[in-house]
Symmetry: D2
Subunit: 394 residues, 4 copies
């Protein structure tokens, strides 16, 4: 059966979509690549201000991306209050602060898990510095992803590293303000190859539970082994009240960091279906929907616009699932019937509804085209001459 | 550097090896196969008594396999006290009781997670029956592996199934005696294809923590996604005191149930290395080392003997790791040096030491050969004529 | 941009869809399951005639499934001419003949690759028997899938098995009639776990090339390692003129045999996109589009109907790709633009167009509903009482 | 049974080991890392001469690494004849020439497969330049690994890219001298994420067969999907006479480029077992055994020494397999017996035999220790001051 969106009362769906926000990563606008090559793109930002300006373009055309995550030290500025008011002037907020304890030479063999106490001290201090930044930016979330891990069996003691990790996190947690959170990311491989110190949601959750209620798990959709059912993890973390945020992106094999929804749009829909089912889409649910992806060969601003639209489309499909019919079929053990309810929503073309919604809110119905027509891309290429382009190293 | 076992004082190593015990599964002695075909083997047991007799052969030649796990209802007998004394007469104990709630027609769409309360009731009752059996057999561990899961997105509600699971487990847990445990297994796929209701150690652990201190996680070495670092999970579960048991076997891709150590002997060594490192090899550590594997094309008794020997060899290698040198290299951030310490132990041929140890304990140094020479295999082929051979269905 | 199917001239698309045919497997209508359990379903066929009758229902409601593959010996009948005319009376043809050399006890360690020449002889003869059947049924394709492989390193000689395989295939090939083909399937694991003797398309292709022009590769969508780009293989096999057939199904991790399009509908679309791009959809392209999937927990006839519809929908989306725009964007190195052209087609809801097409051809626009309303399901449950239900073993 | 190397006649084994050579990659001595960070190491070479000097150290202590592969343009020098005589003065030869058509900005979307004919021209010319270098260095092998591929479905036409690839290779092949070869590498992912243009051995082989007898396949042990049986591919390529070379390294999940034998030593043994079984170890077999691995966190020279030793140990184990007993057990369908023959060889400690062999040839029995004691590492740290360290980009 097709779902007739034209004639249905989609008021609640539209309201939910209008309230949805997606946070953008500042580093998505800088150069990025693989270990083989970083291909520079003309017009790429040279400082955090220009990154924020580019992110604001995404919000301008989608109306759904009002926050920008920063990465410290990549986005260090002298005056974060100034950066904050600059952002607000462009209609966006500064969002989560991402710590970076993997690029200083001292961190070659780890940061919070390093066998050397001096390196651990330095890594804790780097996080305390991030919390200071958060006070200035008004950020609520300290996102911690560690590159810690081992390349070779025996290289270090797996369990001792967990103990060191717990100790370091504990000191960082103690420094949080009352409305601040640690959101702790897991990743099952890379840049370490034999083991990573937070490889799975179970490990992240154990540390969060040990820390307290202000510690939550970050689920990056690219950080799982093949065959992993990600929406199950979403449901599980929501059930125990510990899903703090998403890092959205998509991947075919490794942590490919492609545009969310590009590799497996059906999976993205299933993830959003769990979110809707648990009523976790509402703005006060405690789940921060963030993008974390890189654009190595495609232009960065339109790629972010497209990604936001992909999340919106998956969300819209999740919102139009006929939950009463679904529940009824599930209770009746009607395997094909229940599956069909899900597929009917997925197979529906929600783009016209989203285009309408944009028009209602004064936006162009076609964000990518509107951005392309704006001349912004050409302008930054012309203007951003000289200086050092931002990338993962700056 | 080679480790000179001939001249070293290996007293502690030998004592640890002599104290190690491995539990055998009764079902390893029956017929098994794939969905394509079960190839019957001559001489296969026709009842639980004959399975126990075969298991006792493995213990007779290895001296290291003094317990047999049972599977209910496959191993139901009229008088478990009689089976118990029969086993003890052969020198072995009855071990863990495995519930089976996946072969009755009612369980097609699940057991403890089924949408229908009547099916859930039946599944809980099946477990309560297992606990009754445990009182008669003297078993301490109720091993729960559920085939519950979904084949299609939407087929049932992922989160509701977790809630039902928690409720069912809670009722079963309440029926445990003071010295009994639930050991809860996870499996990331099969026989369900889209999702399994306990897919990973995190899910199993969450349920165990909710139940109480008598609930522990079972780690089956074949139940992980490709690329998963299993020894990390071992270390993590030991760290939180919740590693209840192993189901040992080996696999190349799926849950292949090959002989442990046959597919990746280095991985088995790394797992035992974490066990030794955490001092969890000692008999009172609470970790039950069990085999759970099937022999589809190879003869069953020698395959179990070989598997026990493989675990012993991996353990022996783990025991001879020079932990002082390892710790020193790790603290010094000497990546290659630390890795070398591990590899030196792994590359050592421990078979002569194990052969000596067997001689010391009055065993033939070559268990497979001794079993082959005993004529037992020919005897059971001759004697076990008529009746229905045991298999996964009985 | 949304593709406006209502107003576009979709004549060519409709003609291509109307000409598309999908072959059904007789075994999809019998009972099937996993190694853990086969759950029987009421009304399941008890002989090949009833299987053909059920398959004819799928064609009746979709108009797109006019052939039925048989499996020998599962579908052996005394008089194939009679079965053929029975099928034709129901509006369907007998299609490919599938050999089965994996269920006789002699085949435990292989068939065409077995170390024992007597077993190889028997396996060749089984195929010659299939060719005889083909003469009676009018079938063109002898589909060969072998369960041959190894569970343990060293079990047999990998290379010698290839030589034996080549020799056996060669004898079978020589017996083909001038309009008959061998279509040779590959599978990367299961039921063997360590190695399979035709694990990948490269191996199948090498054997086909050695045999001659009447040997072609079968691509089963469930028979690849995780992360494999299947549409690349489709394109490659089409390029060298050796794609003989598809075995369609879908899977999340292993050879799950779920309904095609259920696990990753975007992948199915990408596969059909390569087919359309190479003009291989036309009936005389030499590609036989077959289903090969099992319905363990869902009702079998509607699951086949749904599967046929899924293939039709993926095909329709592939047909509406704006290939001129795609080519232009690709030539211009417009990564996002080219990707968008593909996604615009994929995101279009083609179900209304397919419903229209069915109406045009005198079919109910909603095949699943029409079948459900027909009472056929209830009738076979009532009528098929007694006898032995068909399954993988019969 | 243990294999008693002390008393056995191992003359043939020792001769085979003494004749074995392994080629080293120049880039293993430069800095390398991940997309997250390249950690520089003190003493790293600053030019090709210093790389060759470091490689010569590996040969000095192992006696088994007499060739060095170069990477063009990373290793471009003004006078290759001079570099060649420099190398020969240090006791090593210049080996395979590796083309690099992935770091110039023009290659962002591909090289030989690029949609733009101008870029393809440039990529062909880069290879022709490599052939010129080969004439000067006396190299026989032009190793081609392409980073070509796609990140997004639709980005380019999969099949057209194959046609362009065939055309480009054909022109390069035509420029080969009579004793030169193209060796063509495949890789299933990275740096492209959606598809790579030579993802598997089948694709590489098809192109080699189209080119002619001087084109051979390169098997990089890190370039396969999880679960792939690599020794099967080795056996298959040897069977068709197209295994040109190995790129040895090891990996847990992706193309980790760890030291060969570090992640799965049993797999390395199985690979060498196929080599020995096909008599492809002998120097004139046409198989070039090369290392291709990076040392991101461990010191580079000892890591290469260790890697060479790992290959030697795996080879030694393969050489002591009792092939008569293996064949007999295989023919008798003795699954466990045949597997045991393989495992007996694998479980044997061959390090004492290799130490003896080194002594016989005037080498220190412990290469890593001897290198460490030599003071070379300290010397290059002291001497190599100033200049730009070599890395993947230079």
């Amino acid at each position: 059966m097709t779902i007739e969106l034209q004639t249905a009362d989609t008021t609640a769906v539209r309201e939910a979509l209008a309230a949805q926000t997606i946070e953008l990563p500042s580093w998505a606008f800088g150069n990025s690549g693989t270990r083989f090559k970083v291909f520079a793109q003309p017009g790429v930002p040279r400082d955090p201000y220009e990154k924020v300006a580019d992110a604001a373009q995404v919000h301008k055309y989608t109306g759904a991306a009002p926050r920008v995550s920063l990465h410290i030290p990549w986005d260090l500025v002298d005056d974060f209050a100034d950066l904050r008011s600059y952002a607000e002037g462009l209609g966006v907020q500064l969002g989560a602060i991402n710590s970076n304890v993997f690029q200083d030479d001292d961190y070659m063999l780890g940061s919070l898990c390093h066998p050397d106490a001096k390196v651990r001290r330095k890594a804790v201090d780097a996080h305390l510095k991030c919390i200071e930044v958060m006070h200035e930016t008004g950020s609520q979330d300290l996102k911690i992803w560690l590159a810690d891990g081992l390349n070779y069996p025996g290289q270090d003691n797996l369990r001792a590293r967990q103990d060191r990790l717990a100790e370091g996190l504990s000191e960082i947690y103690a420094a949080l303000g009352p409305h601040q959170r640690i959101i702790l990311e897991y990743k099952f491989f890379e840049p370490s190859f034999y083991s990573t110190d937070i490889p799975d949601w179970g490990t992240s959750l154990l540390h969060c539970m040990a820390l307290g209620e202000q510690a939550m798990v970050v689920l990056d959709t690219g950080h799982h082994a093949p065959g992993t059912n990600i929406e199950f993890i979403v449901a599980q973390l929501l059930r125990v009240g510990r899903l703090g945020a998403f890092d959205f992106n998509s991947r075919f094999y490794a942590d490919d960091d492609l545009m969310v929804g590009a590799a497996d749009p059906f999976q993205l829909f299933r993830i959003m279906n769990e979110i809707v089912d648990a009523d976790a889409l509402r703005p006060d649910s405690g789940v921060n929907f963030m993008l974390d992806q890189c654009h190595n060969i495609e232009p960065k601003i339109p790629a972010q616009i497209r990604s936001v639209m992909n999340v919106q489309e998956a969300t819209a499909k999740a919102l139009i699932v006929d939950r009463a019919a679904l529940h009824e079929a599930q209770q009746a053990s009607d395997v094909l019937g229940a599956h069909s309810v899900i597929m009917d929503a997925y197979n529906t073309d929600v783009r016209p509804m989203l285009a309408d919604l944009r028009r209602e809110h004064g936006l162009d119905p076609h964000p990518v085209g509107a951005y392309a027509a704006s001349g912004y891309a050409e302008r930054i290429v012309a203007e951003r001459v000289g200086g050092a382009q931002a990338g993962w190293g700056a």
